[in-house]
Symmetry: C2
Subunit: 345 residues, 2 copies
């Protein structure tokens, strides 16, 4: 029996996760879930972010389903680093996966694109680079202040994520783009490029390409249909995935997985959107991204059929929407869950 | 008399710079120019990139007008670092300026935008951050390899570029957006944010905003009209300016200045596009970006009227184009030069 840790979090996180769980109930019948009350409320009440005991308990699960973390009452960065990044680093979630598709019914800010034109995934490294926290400040607050940030990269870390990206490319359209900035970041760029070329030799069936991050950012806007799989470092991936979300109609629909492909610790699956305190509690948040994140979760647990059913149901849900109709969170969940049930019965 | 060093460079660089000089001849009558043969040809012939003697000679000029550097025969990064970045660092060109406008006649990949909707400038720091080259590799080529890149930031360096951005915002629509990643890059982000807040106190007439780089990248795609002036670090600026170029119709039309606002060394002005060896020598390259870069140059030399005349002429040139008509490099230069002459006579 699959054991899922559920962290609804703040604001609309609670509402959308309830719908995601409706869908999971039919897609992964009989799964066991444990709910964890983490996020801004816990922090404001107790000052705690992610107690070590909770960390150990989470580690007993097969996956984590997360809603949204954050509230204006908490200083920016505190919960992100103390919770999201801690999970990524301590649970060795080295594949940060972000599928980017333009769904029927979704509206892209780009002219001349139609559903199906955009369909790629970004494989972002999740445990190295500029996200380690290395660096410091000297003479803080004085005119003499200096600040450093250090990007740490290993052959071990780059090779495993690049290998994962090649595997995904092989299962898709067979094209992999490495994005870095080798012409300026020669040290890390050199390591990434050499590792990429070494691994590429084992995947002769995958065509490869290299792009500087500035060019890739531009191409995501003016020719997004040319991408299949992108592999890149932690910070570049953070930026590129948000451009990807923008061209596919906004972060409202995007889902992401912070994945430990070796299953040595649980992976986290979540919608990309935030806690949206402005619309929380009204039952009008769109749960589609949270529901899509269960598809990534199912995929990770080896339930490819159930994942495909969820994706198909989400696609039908989006295609059926009139641009004018208001969203009722619970109704969307009911519709998608019924659709999935129909497919799997 | 203004002394301009001209580096036509490679490929279409030569062709577009010839047109830029036609325009400069009428906009800055009697300017003296010295031409420097730098770039891929020099490098392939002699192995030299930027001899120290040339560096000293360049330093005697008021500004540098550059075409494009690069050729497939030269390993990537060599000329960029040896020439472009060397100029930025040694000539202390700490303001990397990139105006981003959607011109009439230019075609944006975005739906629902019309000329005039997009009009902002990015002020990118040019002498610090991840561009210093700090970092290294250990156990290169082995499974134990590690690579580091270090971002170096000073109060001195951030304050001067932020101050410049506030000045520009004051001369424009009075809105300045700081872009960084303070929730993850806490050391450098802290320095940037504190410096920004300190300087903001002196510019009560400028409204300010802070955005994380991933959000800013997304907003440049789905609401570019909300930006007036953006100030950001060297690497974020590199990425954001290319997104800006994309939404305004591609790097073919963009111009940039690597500016030393204190005039202690010359500043460099250039089109953003590359040497485009595939179309070089045919007289069909669009010289508009090179011509626009002379407007930035004129502005920097205190010739605001002449700069405005060049910008107006460029705008008329672009508006007059039929999408079908082929571009003849020399004719574009003739037309724009004649227009500028008419305005200034
Ligand atoms: C919240 C933040 C720390 C995080 C990141 O920068 O990785 C977010 O932007 C993301 O993409 O998951
Ligand atoms: C050529 C390269 C070194 C340069 C940079 O990264 O700054 C370019 O992309 C730019 O934006 O001027």
């Amino acid at each position: 029996m699959s054991r899922i840790a559920v962290i609804p979090g703040d604001g609309i996180g609670q509402e959308v996760i309830a719908e995601a769980q409706k869908v999971l109930a039919v897609a992964l019948p009989g799964y066991e879930s444990t709910e964890y009350d983490l996020g801004a409320r816990l922090y404001n009440r107790t000052g705690e972010i992610l107690p070590d005991t909770v960390m150990s308990e989470l580690d007993e699960h097969d996956a984590i389903l997360l809603g949204a973390i954050g509230d204006p009452t908490v200083p920016p960065g505190v919960l992100e680093r103390g919770l999201l990044l801690r999970l990524r680093f301590e649970f060795d979630q080295y594949v940060n996966l972000r599928p980017s598709r333009l769904y029927p019914g979704a509206s892209s800010p780009l002219a001349d694109v139609k559903p199906g034109d955009i369909d790629f995934v970004v494989v972002r490294e999740g445990t190295e680079g500029l996200y380690t926290g290395a660096g410091g400040n000297l003479h803080t607050g004085s005119p003499a202040e200096i600040a450093t940030e250090e990007s740490l990269n290993t052959r071990y870390g780059t090779e495993r994520v690049i290998r994962d990206a090649f595997e995904r490319a092989r299962r898709r359209r067979g094209h992999l783009t490495l994005v870095h900035k080798t012409n300026v970041l020669v040290h890390a760029g050199g390591l990434w490029k050499r590792t990429f070329d070494d691994v590429a030799a084992e995947y002769q069936d995958v065509t490869t390409e290299y792009q500087h991050v500035d060019a890739a950012a531009m191409f995501l806007v003016n020719r997004p249909h040319t991408f299949d799989v992108i592999v890149t470092d932690n910070l570049f991936g953070d930026i590129l995935t948000d451009i990807a979300a923008a061209v596919t109609g906004g972060i409202g629909l995007a889902a992401t997985g912070s994945i430990n492909p070796d299953h040595t610790h649980p992976s986290t699956f979540e919608p990309v959107h935030g806690s949206a305190p402005d619309i929380a509690g009204q039952g009008i948040a769109d749960p589609v991204a949270a529901i899509s994140s269960t598809a990534l979760l199912l995929e990770h647990l080896g339930r490819a059929d159930a994942a495909a059913a969820v994706n198909a149901a989400v696609e039908r849900e989006l295609a059926s929407r009139d641009s004018g109709t208001a969203i009722r969170t619970a109704e969307v969940g009911d519709r998608v869950a019924a659709d999935v049930a129909g497919q799997l019965s």
